[in-house]
């Protein structure tokens, strides 16, 4: 293989299937149908200002300009390729909203990711591998990270202090003066009623259904937890 080809992504970078043009067109239509879409793209000068500000463009073969450009040109094949190859590299920092055209390339990527999840695309499944426990945590407990996640084997690159925290966790949590912070498995003490209200939101907004597309096992666990709690409370989902 020629040396320069290393600068480009290979065709099978994400190991995703080729699909018919009308599938790509449907996915593109789903992106455009999002209610935020008209506020996120006003055409593209192709000036590259977003790229200059973009952290992910510095370390990956990734460019918010290419995203905005492909969508503005309605290049459905390229948009599909980006949904399989590019979108999960974005840092969602929104440095790109300095776009002189008023675009929000990071926001376009948020929408493309949602469509990728809703349709169970290969890139979405791959992106969520190793990530399910985080979704489980946020959806079932109402806080995204918890003190007991600080385990040396999970964060070996964060230094020996992680082990100190993990070894002393229960005591060090009790050494926190705010009364809500004595927890170890949630960020703070979330009231039972609050959690049930959150479950109603996940069910009513269709988020629980989204999980089914990408991780059936996780979906089954979450569904059981939520439905049991709601039934106990006499709430009809």
């Amino acid at each position: 293989m020629a040396e320069t080809s290393a600068l480009y992504k290979s065709d099978d970078v994400a190991g995703y299937p080729e699909v018919a043009h009308d599938v790509k067109a449907r996915l593109f239509d789903e992106v455009k149908a999002d209610l935020r879409f008209p506020d996120y793209l006003y055409g593209c000068y192709e000036c590259g200002i977003c790229v200059a500000a973009c952290p992910s463009a510095r370390f990956y073969d990734f460019s918010p300009r290419r995203i905005a450009q492909a969508i503005a040109r309605e290049d459905v094949a390229l948009v599909y390729q980006q949904m399989e190859e590019d979108i999960w590299e974005c840092s969602q920092c929104f440095s790109c909203v300095r776009c002189p055209r008023g675009n929000n390339p990071g926001g376009l990527i948020t929408i493309m990711r949602e469509v990728a999840i809703n349709n169970g695309l290969a890139s979405a499944r791959e992106a969520l591998e190793g990530y399910s426990r985080i979704i489980y945590k946020i959806m079932s407990t109402g806080t995204q990270v918890s003190p007991d996640m600080l385990q040396p084997d999970a964060f070996p690159d964060w230094g020996p202090e992680v082990k100190d925290v993990s070894d002393n966790l229960a005591l060090w949590r009790r050494a926190l003066p705010p009364e809500t912070l004595h927890t170890t498995s949630t960020g703070w003490d979330v009231a039972e009623r609050t959690l049930i209200e959150l479950y109603v939101i996940w069910l009513e907004s269709g988020v629980l259904e989204m999980i089914r597309e990408v991780d059936e096992g996780l979906h089954a666990i979450l569904e059981e937890i939520m439905q049991d709690r709601l039934e106990e409370e006499g709430i009809e989902p």
């Binding site: 929104f94 690159d157 809500t180 960020g187 009513e204 988020v207």
Partner: protein, 395 residues
Amino acid sequence: MTAPVDVVLRKKERFERGTERLPGDFHEELFRLEEEGEWIVDRVREPYVEVPTKYGRTKKIPKAHLWHHKSCGQCGHIPGYSTSIFWVMRKLGYDYHDPRDQTSCTAWNYYASATSNSTAQAAVALRNFAAARETGYFPLIHCGTSYGHYKEVREELLLHPELRQQVRDILAKLGKPLVMPEEIVHYSEWFYAMRQEIAAHQVRNFDGIAVTVHPACHYYKLVEGDAIYDPDIYGGQRTAVVTGLAEALGAEVRSYSTWFDCCGFGFRHILVQRDFTRSFATQRKIEVMKEEADPDVVLTHDTGCVTTLDKSQFAARAHDRNVGVPVMSEAQFAALAMGAHPYRVCQLHWHSADYRPFLERMGIDWEAAWAEFEADVKRLERGEIEFLTWEDVDA
């Protein structure tokens, strides 16, 4: 090779903001929708401080009676961050409410995995706002991402009646009305607004302490019109929070050329692709700061930024990179200025980069302070006390 910072700054002095792109004041629509019975606007109440924002609109920052919308990353992994916010507020004598009836904004997960949607995100935000209003306290948002995301949610709700209807239907099932605060307020705005009061309570001298500031992307890039800009700080060209406070406390704020860069957190990257996070945080932020500004401490005002800039240094050190500078929130920095205990209040033992030389620069005997904290832990262990209380930390 990065450009020398003075060259970059000289160029920026010529920059003027075009008037044609000034956004309007969202309050007009906010109050119009209230008049039409669409939602309740939760008003900022006295006492408040008025501060300038990016496009000149005045923003009200309530001083007291605040409902602390906590951050999962702060509470979970850097608990001295939240503790310092509470401690400073207590010291200044302002009452607050630390709710259990609060969920995370869930935006960290949303920006990481997209396993949510606009309706759910708005419903989570407005459930929290309604819960705050039920207590009579006004929301103060601890996390930069929650703050940025809630501003996005507000923009979406202002624009889209169908979204308001979906959220109204969900909240009706919870017996809650739609509530939108008059201002979405980040805790760093409170610290900026209160900087003179904080400085008046300063007991440790910060002369000769050099700091660099990392402004948090989700604070000032997302829905930029809400962020505080002050003509007296950076000529109004960068957000004034954090820097305004550090200067009021007598520290020397040093600039560096990559100040606009993000920290490298990446939402999903910090959890499952940390090679990117570590590389970006050290090569584009910490090393540039060290090379150009050589700070005693890096200050920032968001959960993800403190975590990323602090934790990323350990692995880089193993590769002999030019790292090794403590990282903390300006809330912890302000608490230290006001005499807070470095472990009982600022909980610095949860941080990774070595902060001890910095404490020594401030004249703090960290060995004695650690011995005091260890004695507290022994008392907890022996069951003499159940928790360390607010009274204990100031004993």
